[in-house]
């Protein structure tokens, strides 16, 4: 198969200013230019005295190189800040690389957001044409695809209603429908599946699979949803700090990502933390003493959180989320802090989680206001099959055991 995308030694760096986080105002620039010019002519040594802003280069991508062959479906995985979005922005030509070269063959349709350029006052019909054009379709092409778009979006009789009156589901469906029907050889998709309901997500995945396998299009897909990415992609690229860490089959890449990022069964954050309230230590155990990450179906799970703080923050709350093996959240619980130093223990009663692999994510936050300590490291743990009601069945029967009443 021919190469569809070839990335060679691509770097992208941003200038970040370490002064204060606010917009540069016109006045500052003028003053700076004047003083600098003034100082230059007087040849004074104390330049920059007015604006002691330190500029630093932040390297979002460093010497990135990889190749994608035609018809491949590549999942791009990495933590926040690994450079995934920057890579997609370069591919979609929104910004230019600082150095290096990307060569592509065929038209690229990039879907970094659903409904870019949608105007709330315009009707569905008008938005199809507008959005299609923005994505790079010709008018004739949109006309040809129009019926297909409308039927995929399932908006039927709302076609001539302004989209501001659409439900958010309809809005997303319409936006995706336009993009998915774009006749492009390469489709670049960023996390769009995070929106919309389950049914729709499945439909989108199906559509993307279809365009890739039946029409031989190349797909680049960024997502945090490991289930979706494993289902759709056949190859994967793991990015870490702007570099390619693993480039292999999707199974290898996902395994690698999960095992390197979510394997700590116990972790201690350093004492000199600059956060106001933070976790000192988090671990799971059977009896609140010895840390472990393997439990029997009939074990209570003790989640121990040691918290320390520099000051008292009003409304600080501890939240933990139990996630399944694909990192989808199963359930969560919250506890407003009453004591800002010391130990909190949450007990997940036995026989709730069915045998399988799980992750626990924990955070300290002021609800809906800000995060105090949001650790991206999840602790993983396993529930062993020690006699759950599903033990005699082979199929996947879910994650949670609920005492159901039969009558």
């Amino acid at each position: 198969m021919a190469i569809a995308i070839k990335v060679e030694n691509v770097c992208k760096s941003y200038q970040i200013t370490h002064k204060e986080e606010r917009d540069v105002s016109f006045r500052e620039t003028i003053i700076k230019n004047i003083t600098e010019g003034f100082n230059k002519t007087k040849n004074l040594a104390n330049r920059n005295s007015l604006l002691p802003a330190k500029k630093e280069e932040f390297k979002a991508l460093q010497n990135l190189s990889f190749e994608v062959r035609q018809g491949e479906r590549v999942g791009i995985i990495g933590r926040n800040g690994a450079g995934k979005s920057t890579l997609l922005k370069l591919l979609s030509r929104i910004t230019e690389p600082t150095s290096g070269r990307i060569s592509t063959k065929g038209r690229i349709a990039s879907l970094l957001e659903v409904g870019t350029g949608f105007h709330p006052e315009l009707t569905g019909r008008e938005n199809i044409f507008l959005n299609g054009t923005i994505l790079g379709m010709r008018r004739a092409e949109i006309k040809r695809k129009f019926d297909e778009i409308v039927s995929f979006a399932e908006i039927g009789k709302f076609l001539d209603t302004p989209v501001k009156r659409y439900s958010s589901g309809m809005y997303v469906r319409l936006a995706f429908a336009v993009a998915a029907n774009l006749e492009s050889e390469i489709l670049v998709v960023d996390e769009v599946l995070a929106v919309g309901d389950d049914n729709f997500q499945r439909k989108c995945l199906g559509k993307m699979q279809q365009v890739s396998s039946e029409e031989g299009r190349t797909v680049l897909f960024v997502s945090h949803n490991m289930a979706a990415i494993t289902k759709l992609c056949n190859k994967g690229i793991l990015l870490n700090k702007g570099k390619v860490e693993v480039n292999s089959t999707i199974e290898n890449v996902v395994d690698n990502y999960i095992s390197t990022n979510f394997q700590n069964d116990l972790f201690i954050l350093d004492e000199n933390n600059d956060k106001e309230v933070y976790f000192q230590k988090i671990f799971l155990s059977r009896n609140s003493e010895t840390p472990t990450n393997t439990f029997a179906f009939s074990d209570d799970i003790f989640c121990t959180f040691d918290i320390d703080s520099k000051e008292v923050i009003k409304d600080a709350t501890l939240t933990f989320i139990i996630r399944d093996r694909n990192l989808s959240p199963l359930f969560s619980d919250h506890k407003p802090l009453s004591n800002y130093k010391g130990r909190l223990i949450a007990v997940i009663p036995k026989k709730i989680l069915l045998p399988g692999k799980y992750y626990i994510q924990s955070m300290l936050h002021v609800p809906n206001v800000r995060f105090l300590d949001n650790n991206e490291d999840y602790i993983n743990f396993t529930i062993e099959e020690t006699g759950s009601k599903n033990s005699i069945y082979n199929t996947d029967l879910g994650f949670v055991n609920i005492p159901v009443l039969w009558q």
Binding site: A2, I3, K6, Y14, D23, V24, S25, F26, R27, T29, K89, L90, L91, S92, R93, I94, T95, E96, P97, T98, S99, G100, R101, I102, S103, T104, K105, G106, I108, S110, L112, E113, T116, G117, H119, E121, L122, E126, F129, L130, T133, I134, L135, R138, R139, P162
Partner: protein
């Protein structure tokens, strides 16, 4: 497998989009029309009297100016009905001021497109001018009605009007592109633009004839390109009595051309960074 560059049809590397710039603009011409079409559609949606706003605004301004400058201040009217004198200047002024304002804000109000989609950024500010051209045409019809009412027939000079309309557009592009690009980085222009526009209405010879300005200041006055344009419009519409002041006219045209060159150059210089700093 030995691939060479020729097999690929898109190369992304530093400075590459610079070279294909005008090609890209041509490729994205449909987007340009759709952006203009969108702005036209959206402009009067959910307004009760819709397009009538394009008529009410200039007519009311004209009435106020006629009363204040013509009746109260008793400024000379060059032998034409004062409403027509005012309206022939309001046409280019309103076209300029609304397009300039819209163009300046266009990048900010479409920031989500800038950060998510690639296209030559020049399309956005330029397409906003089209909408205002439509308003301009509506105003022009009002002027024709006024002329019928006063039994005023235009001179042959009116054939030159398209040239001055074009000149107005160039002025909008020059100033609008510059300010739109500056606005991305310095939001100060959000406050400067309305101020400049408000101020300009009194600096430009809209409510009065530019003959009110003493002869020795005329050349200086023509440094404002709108002066040349407004005089041009009056000369086309009102005809003979309004002699064109040629040195001033050429100065105004020269300034427009300079503005345009610097506007486009500055815009192109900074547009690559729009997505990073907006």
């Amino acid at each position: 497998m030995a691939e060479n560059v020729a097999e690929f049809d898109l190369i992304i590397e530093p400075g590459r989009s610079e070279r294909n710039y005008w090609n890209d603009i041509w490729r994205f011409r449909e987007l340009f029309f759709f952006m203009a079409w969108r702005d036209i559609l959206v402009r009067y949606k959910q307004t009760a009297i819709g397009l009538a706003w394009s008529i009410i605004r200039p007519v009311l301004t004209m009435l106020v100016f006629t009363i204040v400058f013509g009746r109260l201040a008793k400024l000379p009217s060059e032998g034409v009905p004062y409403p027509i004198l005012v309206f022939s200047a309001l046409l280019p002024w309103q076209f300029f001021s609304t397009s300039f304002t819209d163009a300046s804000n266009s990048l900010i109000s479409n920031s989500n497109m800038l950060t998510k989609i690639y296209f030559p950024r020049l399309i956005i500010p330029v397409s906003t001018v089209i909408v205002n051209l439509l308003d301009f045409l509506i105003s022009f019809v009002i002027l024709l009605c006024l002329m019928l009412w006063y039994h005023f027939s235009p001179s042959i000079n009116i054939l030159f009007l398209p040239f001055f309309i074009f000149l107005t557009m160039l002025t909008v592009f020059g100033t609008g592109l510059y300010v739109a690009a500056l606005n991305v980085k310095y939001r100060d222009f959000k406050y400067i633009v309305p101020f400049v526009v408000q101020f300009g209405l009194y600096i430009c010879p809209v409510g009065f004839s530019s003959n009110v300005v003493p002869e020795k200041w005329k050349l200086l006055y023509s440094l404002n390109p709108l002066v040349g344009i407004i005089d041009g419009f009056r000369w086309c519409i009102l005809g003979g009595n309004n002699q064109i002041y040629l040195p001033g006219m050429f100065l105004s045209i020269g300034i427009v051309v300079l503005l345009l060159i610097f506007g486009i150059r500055y815009f192109r210089k900074v547009e690559k960074k729009f997505a990073d700093i907006i």
